[in-house]
Symmetry: none
Subunit: 419 residues, 2 copies
């Protein structure tokens, strides 16, 4: 059962508003077993709306429209739908009572513009809107090849659309159509880029059942793998996906850090809490980014004691107690210095774990021996300190981000492996 | 000149990823004088891509495609474009050298999958991609009614697409098509929300010439005002906009911190550099966010010495030297403690200026006297320390962001007013 989403609104076509409605609608429809075939974003223009409807009906059995049904002049969707379905507007008593009740709650009289909101095309079923004046409209049209196409027009205001979609439209669609079960699982990996990951898991990917699809969703420092399965038997589908995930876990245990909506900072926080352990960070090249990520998690003060951002050698010496000799002999970006930073942080902040970073983020500061992208990360855990070397890329922003995520994943592995 | 944007990616149709690319592309195109007629979001499917291209060419003279050109199996855009344009893939030496160079910088060997990234349709012009392995592709096709349609395929990875669109595609389109003069000036304000700002500048807004439009672009902590003028005479247009900006500066001098692509962290850095002054931050509720913002600016090590993130009272006492008495008597979120933090930071890090923050970011930790959103910020400058109190909102993320930006703007005002 194909769905097409049509979002109407000039503001979407000049980039002033990001089309979050489409993503939200698509997610809800997917969870209910409906497949979104296409999203089409068009302007508040009669001609454009008529064209888009005529094209959509070729592609989809269900056309969900949002936007352009407000009370102001630029909102022409209702009149255009009336034209498309050869209908006429009639005053709807029920709709008017809803508008009256809404205005009474807000303490305002009903204006003429808002009275017109109670006029609906004669051949549609009105969909109540508890949160605004614009009713939704449900139309059905016979398809030339048999069957019918359902068109639903909803408000563009996100909270009104959301209430209408989940409260009325999806439940009614599920009564009409028998939908397959759809199940998604997202596997979160850190440590290698998209193409290296693809090479490592190629055989696993090729062995996936044909009803399960894999998508690579890369972000700086993280690659998300999304498995999407479709089937008629819910239990069998879940089993297929779990089994694929288990095999992947065996294949790349070190790269997987979590699932679905988790983040590295959440997972690290979870492990620290469980261990009743504490953390601090000594940051040079990451400039506070790791602390910022960790403290973005609500409740992080339970395990995070703080950070020293040491953006000069003077601070590394005086506040962190790194030896002047090491700084002189090995340079700030070195195994020796990053280890000293981590150990010193552990003792000065009296924590169980400490992360330290030092690197050349760029664009300046690179040398032939230590080019831009060179990074050292140290993790001090109880009784042990390890340091790792990386060579990232040219972009300052991404070097900082990748270093921060790499450091969090190194800490995560330490936390997991030390039971 | 109509543009159609086609975004390819299953992840957009199941709602896992919000289509921010479309909004960004539309905004940039609009700024350059091109009108986006439609945005079409389709799946990684050969049939669907072929259909969408055939339809787009009916509507638009320029078709900009993003997504589906990565190295992995699910990326089929390149092969499908090849089919649509009756072309064949040929190995491109230049493209391969770029891939090699990218991998050499990262210290990895080129895999077979990535070698294939250097194969391009014979009849396209490759567009270099400094940030990834996928080249862009520029095709031209004659229109039945005369003229030609330009198709450009770009990566879906936002930072790769952005660099390619603004660095290559838009400049080249502007060479080909004559667009009206469009001039934009963005005025950056910090300190009051959108609706309060609108009320303060209402008369100014109503007096704007009819060819100049105003858009409010709110972000947490910052409201950007964008003036967009269109005209046939470039000099007259610039004069109109400068005059409007000057009047606004007279109206709200304290709220304006910069223009266009400037950021508070860049402007603060600029002033510090000019004064040859140094800065450090003592952060509690902002958790390193101010340090992260400041160090995101290249060259910030010239004026930024570092930070202490003090996420527990113990650290505030032991590392920052805040008196136990103040912490006990006034609490960590207080004028007294935040001033002590700033003064101590100034002397311990031996800097000219220090910022200190302490607040209740939420969701937990609020009390009737100090509800979630309560924030104290102190600025220590040579011979002086001031502290300010704020009450922000309920969202942890936005409270942190607003505190960080407010602190940077307070520092900026100090730097400007002290000549």
């Amino acid at each position: 059962m194909n769905v097409e989403i049509i979002n109407i609104g000039d503001e979407l076509l000049i980039g002033q508003v990001i089309n979050t409605n489409a993503a939200w609608m698509a997610e809800q429809l997917n969870l209910a077993g409906f497949r979104v075939y296409q999203v089409t974003v068009i302007s508040d223009s009669r001609q454009h709306i008529l064209h888009a409807l005529a094209e959509a009906v070729q592609r989809a059995e269900i056309v969900l429209i949002s936007g352009g049904i407000g009370p102001t002049k630029d909102d022409i969707t209702k009149h255009t739908l009336c034209e498309y379905f050869n209908s006429r507007l009639v005053f709807n008593e029920d709709a008017y009572r809803d508008v009256e009740a809404l205005f009474a709650r807000r303490g305002y009289p009903v204006t003429e513009l808002n009275r017109q909101q109670a006029e609906l095309p004669e051949n549609c079923t009105g969909i109540p809107n508890k949160l605004g004046t614009a009713r939704g409209m449900w139309f059905e049209q016979d398809r030339p090849a048999g069957g019918k196409t359902i068109f639903v027009s909803m408000p563009g205001v996100p909270f009104e659309m959301k209430a209408m979609l989940t409260g009325y439209v999806i439940p009614k669609l599920k009564q009409i159509y028998k939908t397959p079960f759809i199940f998604h699982k997202t596997i979160l990996t850190q440590g290698v880029g998209e193409s290296f990951l693809a090479a490592q898991i190629e055989a696993w990917e090729n062995a996936l059942p044909s009803n399960i699809k894999l998508a690579y969703l890369p972000q700086p420092g993280v690659v998300r793998l999304r498995l999407s399965g479709e089937g008629l038997n819910k239990a069998a589908l879940h089993l297929q996906i779990s089994s694929a995930v288990l095999k992947l876990q065996e294949l790349i245990p070190d790269l997987i850090f979590g699932y679905d909506d988790e983040t590295l900072e959440m997972i690290v926080g979870h492990h620290l809490k469980e261990k009743k352990a504490t953390l601090a960070t000594a940051e040079s090249c990451t400039g506070g980014t790791i602390a910022q990520l960790i403290t973005s998690v609500p409740g992080s003060s339970a395990y995070f004691k703080g950070s020293v951002v040491a953006y000069s050698n003077e601070i590394k010496e005086q506040i962190l107690g790194v030896s002047a000799e090491s700084l002189e002999k090995y340079g700030a970006v070195s195994k020796e210095v990053v280890k000293e930073m981590a150990i010193s942080m552990q003792s000065r902040f009296n924590v169980d774990y400490a992360i330290a970073t030092s690197g050349v983020s760029g664009p300046d500061g690179g040398t032939p021996e230590k080019p831009v992208g060179t990074v050292w990360i140290a993790i001090a855990s109880p009784g042990e300190v390890v340091a790792m070397h990386y060579l990232f890329g040219d972009s300052r922003e991404r070097n900082i981000r990748r270093t921060a995520l790499q450091a969090l994943n190194l800490l995560r592995k330490k936390l997991v492996n030390q039971g």
